[in-house]
Symmetry: C2
Subunit: 256 residues, 2 copies
Amino acid sequence: MTLPTTRHQPDATPPPGYDPRAFPAFAVTVDVVILTLRDARLQVLLIRRGGAPFEGAWAIPGGFKRPTETLDEAAARELTEETGVDAAPLLRQFGAYGDPDRDPRMNVVTVGYLAVLRDVPPPVAGTDAAEAALVPVAEILDGRRTLAFDHERIVRDAVDRVRLELEVSGLATEFVGDSFTLAELRSVYEAVWGVHLDAANFRRSVAGDAWIVPTGHRTRPGPNGGRPAELYRAGAAWRTGGPLRSPRTIDRRSPT
Amino acid sequence: MTLPTTRHQPDATPPPGYDPRAFPAFAVTVDVVILTLRDARLQVLLIRRGGAPFEGAWAIPGGFKRPTETLDEAAARELTEETGVDAAPLLRQFGAYGDPDRDPRMNVVTVGYLAVLRDVPPPVAGTDAAEAALVPVAEILDGRRTLAFDHERIVRDAVDRVRLELEVSGLATEFVGDSFTLAELRSVYEAVWGVHLDAANFRRSVAGDAWIVPTGHRTRPGPNGGRPAELYRAGAAWRTGGPLRSPRTIDRRSPT
DNA sequence: CCAAAAGTGTTATGTCTACACCCATGA
DNA sequence: TCATGGGTGTAGACATAACACTTTTGG
C-alpha cells in the first residue's frame, strides 16, 4: 500500500498531520524501448547522450514523469517526442528499476515501457546535435555493445517480454503495417524467436478470417518475377492472443 | 533513460551543475500481493488500515522504499515484516502504478510485487490493533469487496500474472510444500486457472524425474481409508518453465 | 516457357482428452 | 471386504512438422 503499516515498523508511522516531504524523495522517469524489425532483425532505437553522466554513450530514450500525468501518459509523451508517432496503445509496461546506484547523481526510479513500431521515422532534424540510431538487439544481448546506466538490463528485459507477448498477445501485428503479406508476418516470428518456420505450416496456423482477412490487393513481385503475395489485414482474434505457440527449444519432459 | 534528452524538450534539460532537487519528487512505495491456496481457493493477505486515508478499509501490505535499498530488497523487507518469512526469491515484480490521484495526499509511485506462500502465518500478535485476513481473490475480482487506493487493480494484475507464470515458470511449486502429493499440485492449477484437470492426464504431464522426484514417503490416508498418496519433491525442470500449457478456453482458430 | 515465390496435399509423428479399469491401503 | 482415492491403459481427436507438389505471376 502507499502508507507504511503500523504493525511492524511503528517508528516509520507518520503522525496524522505528517509532512509528506518527510519521506524519501525520488525522481521518477520513464524509459521507452522502441523496437522494430529491420533487415529481418530485431532492432532498438538508441540515442547518444549529449551530457554527463555517460556522455557520448548510447542509451534508450526516456524522461521524467510529471506529477500531473500517469506513467502511461508519460511514456506516450516520450514516444511522441522521440519518434513523432502518437501510439499510446502500442505501449506496454514491463518493469521498474530502482537500484540505489543506477544513476550516479541522484535516486532515480525508472519504469520501462516497450513500443513496437512497423517503421521508425528518421530522427527529427534541427533540434540538437544528439544522434539516434537503430541497433540490432543481438549486439546488446551478447555484450558487444554497452549502454549507459542499467539500460542493457532494461533492453534485455524488454526483449524477453516481446518474445513472451508474441505468444500470448497480438503483438506480432504491431511489427507489420495495416496490410501485410504472410511472409512478412512470418518473418516477425522468425526474427524475434530466432527460429525457422515452414511457410506452409505457418499459413495453416493463421488460416481463417479470425486471424487474417484478405484485402483483395497484392504486392508487386520481385525483380526476377515470381507470384505476387496476397495482402491481408489483421483479424479480430489477435485481441485475445496469438496463433502460434513458442517452440520449446528443449523438451522438458524427461524420457519415460 | 534517467536524464531527459535534449532533443525534443530542451526546456527540461538540466544545466551541467543542476540541482537534483529541481526535478519533481515522488514517494516510492512497494506493495506486496501475498497469495496462497486455502480451501482450494486462491486467497490474498489483506490488512485493515489503521489511519487516514481509507481508515478501516482493507489494503495489501506495503511501505516506502528506502534510498539505500533496491526495489527487490524493499519488497523482501515488507514481506518479512508482514509475515515473518524470509523468502526473497519468491518475489516477482509485476507492475508499477503512478496515477497522480492514486494517493490523495501526495504523489506516490508504487511497484507491485507478488509473493506465493504455501502457508501464511497467523498475524503477529501484540504489535498493534491492525487486523490481517486471508480473502478469496474472487471476492475482489468480481467487485464484492473493495480495497483502499487502487489496490483492486493491483490485485487483479497480480492474479493475471500468477495465471501466466503458472504456465511459463515453476511458480506452481511455490504453492505447495517441499514435499507434496500430485493431488495437491494439481489443485494449484485447478484453483488458479479455474479448470478441472483429469488426474490421470495430469500425472502423465508431470511424469519423469525432471519434474517430480519421489521421496519414498507417503501421506496418511483420509478418515475413510483410501490409498495413501506418494510424496514428491520438485525436480530441476521447474527452473525453466512449467509442464502444463494453459487451456485455451476458446479455440481461436476459426473453423476452416 | 522459365524463374521465383505463393500456396496446397499428404503423411508420419506427437500431444491432449476422456474414460474405463486396476491397485493399495486403513477401517 | 469395502470404501476411497491413487495410479495405469487405451483409443480417438487433434496438433505439429517435414517435404513433395501445384499454382500464379512478371520477365
